[in-house]
Symmetry: C2
Subunit: 193 residues, 2 copies
DNA sequence: TGACGGACTTGAACCAGGTTAAGATTTAGT
DNA sequence: ACTAAATCTTAACCTGGTTCAAGTCCGTCA
């Protein structure tokens, strides 16, 4: 499986020589996923950080009533997974699955830790990645607290136009924090009356 | 100003020798804040990352209608600030101010970058810090999407009991994503009818 | 090709939480 | 200590969004 995509991402923030790339490549586990396939399921400890090479994944929480709440989508070039379970080594409370046929690389936690020890520039890479991620999370929080569902949908469409082709509307509704029914109403109003 | 608190935090994840501590100490800017005093204001680029040595700070967003939305509180031992402005060097959209008389250390961005270059273990420290922060942000998002305001208040009180003594209820309401009036209703019901 | 299930829409009744405005209580400044 | 301002509460009314139930429009697989 082609590793140019993942190294392109690394090289947005750090530079890697061939030896380093080789070390990284040697621990990445490539996998192909069918649409709908689960990567992580509730109750098991997540042992991999996940890079999306191709396709689209989503991570969601299922509450006590059985309602799903989408935490994040992940498109090609993004890292994803259940950071809670991965970090604390507690059973996962989220599920991650493919929204389309996808290719991913798994980076097992133990290998990731070894790499971070061996190549401190990777600490830097993930520090920057996580720092940016916090900024996005704060932005989303603020959106949920300060603008109407209608506006959130408009902003979402503008910000992630490519997601609308992969993602069923019901998951977009969930991401926006509303029901599919209400998203339907918003869309009707929006498309002229 | 006493730097033992900040080094105790560093040493939760990494170990530092005296030389390294000296380097860090030499760039930290200590400051005392009066209750209500602003640390960062909307419109200016944030050039400091902030460590709370004593007291309590909060960061909030003021929307188009003039309503404040609390992004985060920060107590003694926590890092805080406007990570958006700090990272992207864009004018701040958030305000940060002291909720009580406080002591903080400012870590200027240029100094922080130099330290990170010089001591890669600091990359590690902040990588871990940010990774944990993402977990908290996701937890809060999920809470906002899946439980009632009533439950959120209960969870908040349990999780941050020490905050209730510093923080006016209207800011707790804002953090929970509700109005002060509605929080009042919740509290009334809660305290025995 | 038909029938099954998943995704999307519609409409009506309903509710969690918002809005407004007024009063009660605490806090802070001089 | 006195006042002004900020915080907190109460109550009546309002609305964005939910719930539930029914119906439509696919894609898919025997």
């Amino acid at each position: 499986m082609d590793t140019s995509g993942i190294f392109a991402q690394f090289e947005r923030h750090i530079t890697l020589d061939e030896k380093e790339k080789l070390s990284i490549r040697s621990v990445l586990i490539p996998a192909r996923l069918k649409q709908g396939e689960f990567v992580e399921t509730v109750g098991k400890v997540t042992s991999n950080f996940i890079f999306v090479n191709l396709g689209c994944l989503m991570t969601y929480y299922t509450d006590a009533e059985g309602t799903d709440h989408v935490i994040q989508f992940a498109m090609a070039g993004w890292w994803t997974g259940d950071l809670h379970s991965f970090t604390k080594e507690e059973p996962s409370i989220y599920s991650t699955r493919a929204l389309s046929d996808s290719e991913v690389f798994y980076l097992p936690k133990t290998d990731m830790e070894a790499l971070l020890q061996k190549f401190p520039k990777l600490e830097r890479y993930f520090r920057i990645l996580f720092q940016n991620s916090i900024v996005s999370h704060q932005h989303r929080l603020i959106q949920n607290l300060s603008v109407t569902a209608d506006q959130r949908y408009e902003n979402f469409s503008k910000r992630y136009p490519s997601l609308e082709q992969y993602v069923p509307l019901k998951y977009i509704a969930s991401y926006l924090g509303i029901t599919p029914e209400f998203l339907s109403k918003i869309r009707r109003k929006r498309s002229g009356h």
